[in-house]
Assembly symmetry: C2
Homo-oligomer: 464 residues x 2
Amino acid sequence: MGSKVGEFRKKLKIVDVKGGPNEGLDRVGLMIVVAGWVRTLRAQSSVTFIEVNDGSCLSNMQCVMTSDAEGYDQVKSGLITTGASIWIQGNVVPSQGSKQKVELKVNKIVLVGKSDPSYPIQKKRVSREFLRTKAHLRPRTNTFGAVARVRNALAYATHKFFQENGFIWISSPIITASDCEGAGEQFCVTTLIPSSREAAESPVDAIPKTKDGLIDWSQDFFEKPAFLTVSGQLNAETYATALSNVYTFGPTFRAENSNTSRHLAEFWMIEPELAFADLKDDMACATAYLQYVVRYILDNCKEDMDFFNTWIEKGIIDRLSTVAERDFVQLSYTDAIELLIKAKKKFEFLVKWGCDLQSEHERYLTEEAFGGCPVIVSDYPKEIKAFYMRQNDDGRTVAAMDMLVPRIGELIGGSQREERLEYLEGRLDELKLNRDSYWWYLDLRHYGSGLVFILIKVTNFLNC
Amino acid sequence: MGSKVGEFRKKLKIVDVKGGPNEGLDRVGLMIVVAGWVRTLRAQSSVTFIEVNDGSCLSNMQCVMTSDAEGYDQVKSGLITTGASIWIQGNVVPSQGSKQKVELKVNKIVLVGKSDPSYPIQKKRVSREFLRTKAHLRPRTNTFGAVARVRNALAYATHKFFQENGFIWISSPIITASDCEGAGEQFCVTTLIPSSREAAESPVDAIPKTKDGLIDWSQDFFEKPAFLTVSGQLNAETYATALSNVYTFGPTFRAENSNTSRHLAEFWMIEPELAFADLKDDMACATAYLQYVVRYILDNCKEDMDFFNTWIEKGIIDRLSTVAERDFVQLSYTDAIELLIKAKKKFEFLVKWGCDLQSEHERYLTEEAFGGCPVIVSDYPKEIKAFYMRQNDDGRTVAAMDMLVPRIGELIGGSQREERLEYLEGRLDELKLNRDSYWWYLDLRHYGSGLVFILIKVTNFLNC
């Protein structure tokens, strides 16, 4: 890294002190500086305890201070309160308390930024609805801090997995003039409406129009209608037919007004594309990916996962361990439907061959039918899947798969692509999609692309 | 990784064979399978040479085939042509030619997808303007393949650098109801205009309006005007005041009609935020980051960088080596202006204290005044910088810095944030920005945030 990096790391992070295998005991005797935010402050007659957190880990550093410490007057006069940011220099000593192995005996304290007594994030538990009104401060809570760290670990593990397996990250364009799949409502992107401060008061008449009264797109930024793409996958295929294995990892936008906790207008999605691969490779890759990232957070975010297990969702660690270790169940859509029909459970939505699986069906399969083991369902009816998925020989199903996991349902979807031009064009026609809009996609089949592709679309994963 | 990963890696990538220190000689004698696209095919009387590329590296695999190979009839009958995708099984043998150390003696060839004779990417050099019309096929050229691989390496090195230094990746929201900096034109995001296929023919009158003729935002997706953010940095600060060091790395959108090669409507940007840091830490971090990623591509993308050095820009490796190794020059804006005024060079734009540095000035400093060494200019006049930058004691400059590099000019910009509420409010007022719009940002100064921040904004880097 070079010595320069050291300059902005003069301080130690709390995780650097307490994050080791013996929770900081190897640091005893060291004089260190930490900087962070006061979580609690308890003044006793001869000694003051300050819990400081710097977000590097869930744990606070307990700082113990007597009246001989430099800066003690600021504590005594009540200047340092919950929420304040402070610098503390002290010696790492074994802790008297049972809640931690080490604590900091303070030599010097500096108030960096004081906190108004109205600081709303106190030690007691508060509702997430309340925290939504304090969105700019909620990253300082245990829950939001832990979510941020685990989300970071998942994102990094995602890059590590694909990079270590020879995939090349590409960023497919987000603003697009065409749509993908013919599915998914898109947001329009325009400068015909003036910038934010004037927009609210903007008359409809101010939007440029042609003599026929149509929106005059020639005056828009791109001189034609432009949208936020709902998927970069078709675009990613142009790279997969050149670089073999690629992946996208970026934000995606859907203008769908489905008020579920699993569908967002803006979310980050991972879209790998493998060349010279089939549906079996697709399932193997999706399984390896999921097991890799789950194992990664179990190994690297232990403290945060323990926190979730205790306070947010009991059993989460066991459930994830199952995902990381078990062989996934694999069955066809047709078998899954049969299993659901025979189930002794009452479903809200009727089950019959041809229907899309609802969350209740997906969860029944993974949670009840197969006891918490992830299940991969494959070979769906072509009518409920996208045009680019490869038709199976039975004439009614396509080489698509969905990976279902307990408590969530579908987590990953993928398919083998239709490499046969005549089948692809046939599906476009059946779905009344315009061949001309897809000329470049069809063109890939003209030039050495009778190869088999897969897509794994990991949606919403990082938002779960 | 577990054994499952192996299943989708049955084939070897060409880089796995030829990418080692002895360019594949350690693989001699192995029977392998590669899959890729035909770059050239030369049939001689008794032997046929096929160059295959799979995008894993710049190098092709030379495949040598005689009439006893399985599948030879497809070659003989002309079915396998440039652009076709093929699977080849063969033995790695020392190459007879001087262009590579090893080649593949073919046992079996399978045509996966044939290529139409109209395939437009032939071996001869073609212009980038021509390739723009074949955007779906250009990733198969040497130049675009090399750019994709180097860009991937830069992105991964970016994550590695920040992760190894304890930064947490966050994704700040892209769709926003407020604007940042009061600078940068924004795109409006709306569903008031119907989806792509109907948009082109959509009448202005179809846009919902209030009884006063204003756009009726209550009928839009978010029930108010929404935009693509021009920066996530203010948002990232809410995480920096909780987690200490964070970074964003995602797409950014600017509706600025500046037709330069350095300003794009859509680009990926890195925005790190450091807590408890000052401008000096900012410069150290920016320097360490840049040197890390440059060193990373010099070490890991040698073949592609050699290609650029030979065919795209002679001297690029030397120039980047200078960036990776030299101590950067550091001088104040005031000194830079003095130096420019004294320069014997005629500039198109007049230089005087208070002016923004133009590209020609930036390049003079780094290329001529300091002989190709990167230069960090700091402490700019507050009038030409954003409201959130910390005012220096001189009352006229702010703690901002720009890093200038040869041939590009400004590559990274950063600043120490104004932590004093009264100064921050004063600047908002001077710039006629609405305090109410920034209530949550100002609020961060109320609650333990009198700490010093920095921002490094690495714009356009990955697009260079």
